[in-house]
């Protein structure tokens, strides 16, 4: 329960997804910022003006999926690490996840896929580790996993 441990139930998460599932055949940012806090870097960092908060920075962000390209600039600019980029294709689900821990996984590694409660829900394969200067120590892990985890996957765990 979000008030007790920060875990949003899946019905709450579903509302942040595009209503038309076909939209996710292109990568889209899924913003999980459920409470009003004074913060707007997602809006100001978006190169495509896809995210709107407005003058009152306490308002929750609204994303226009037509404008969002899934570039993930907002993902590493979000101080709450509350944004992921998600995409489905014929093989499975592809996520871009912010990951600020060591060791970083390597391309090709198998990793555990973790849900919002911190439980292992499956396996994934790292397709890319994106870690440029602009990201200022918030690497993005591009991970592919099974299609059924498009919604409940939240982070990864490096297998020792």
């Amino acid at each position: 329960m979000i008030e007790k441990d920060g875990v949003a139930p899946l019905e709450m998460v579903a509302k942040e997804f595009p209503s038309d599932p076909d939209i996710l055949y292109k990568p889209k940012a899924i913003i999980e910022c459920y409470k009003e806090i004074p913060c707007n870097p997602c809006e100001t960092s978006c190169p495509f003006d896809a995210i709107t908060i407005g003058e009152d920075i306490n308002k929750r962000p609204h994303i226009d999926f037509d404008k969002c390209t899934g570039c993930a600039v907002c993902v590493y600019n979000c101080p709450g690490l509350a944004i992921t980029v998600r995409q489905i294709n014929d093989e499975g689900a592809l996520l871009k996840i912010p990951y600020e821990f060591l060791p970083l996984p390597q391309k090709g590694d198998s990793v555990n896929v973790i849900n919002r409660e911190g439980r292992v829900i499956g396996q994934g394969v790292v397709k890319r580790v994106q870690n440029t200067m602009r990201q200022d120590h918030t690497p993005l892990i591009h991970v592919e996993t099974r299609k059924e985890h498009i919604m409940d996957a939240m982070t990864i765990e490096v297998i020792a």
Partner: protein
């Protein structure tokens, strides 16, 4: 207890700084405070409470609370959490209120 690798910060190699703690020779690193050097050596007890002689460690680490007071080079009540470690400092646990010489 030193952090070897960190995802955000980089801790560069620093010169070792010798000091004595209750007569025993230990080493900290340049940039340490007295309290951080002791903690890195696994020493958490820094002093004793005045009346009941209970062990005391640091609490705030920024110079507010006086829980880390020790005797340094003969001077009592030194706030070790904000006092930089220097070579060959003589650091001792403090008993009681300390006496000004």
């Amino acid at each position: 207890m030193r952090i070897k690798a960190h995802p955000i910060l980089s801790f560069e190699a620093q010169k070792a700084v010798p000091f004595t703690y209750d007569g025993q020779t230990l080493y900290g690193l340049k940039g340490d405070t007295i309290a951080s050097a002791l903690h890195a050596n696994g020493i958490k007890k820094l002093s004793e409470s005045i009346h009941r002689k209970r062990p005391r460690g640091f609490y705030c680490a920024i110079g507010n609370c006086a829980s880390c007071n020790m005797v340094v080079d003969g001077q009592p009540n030194v706030r070790t959490c904000i006092t930089p470690l220097k070579e060959h400092m003589d650091i001792r646990s403090q008993q009681g209120k300390g006496q000004v010489k």
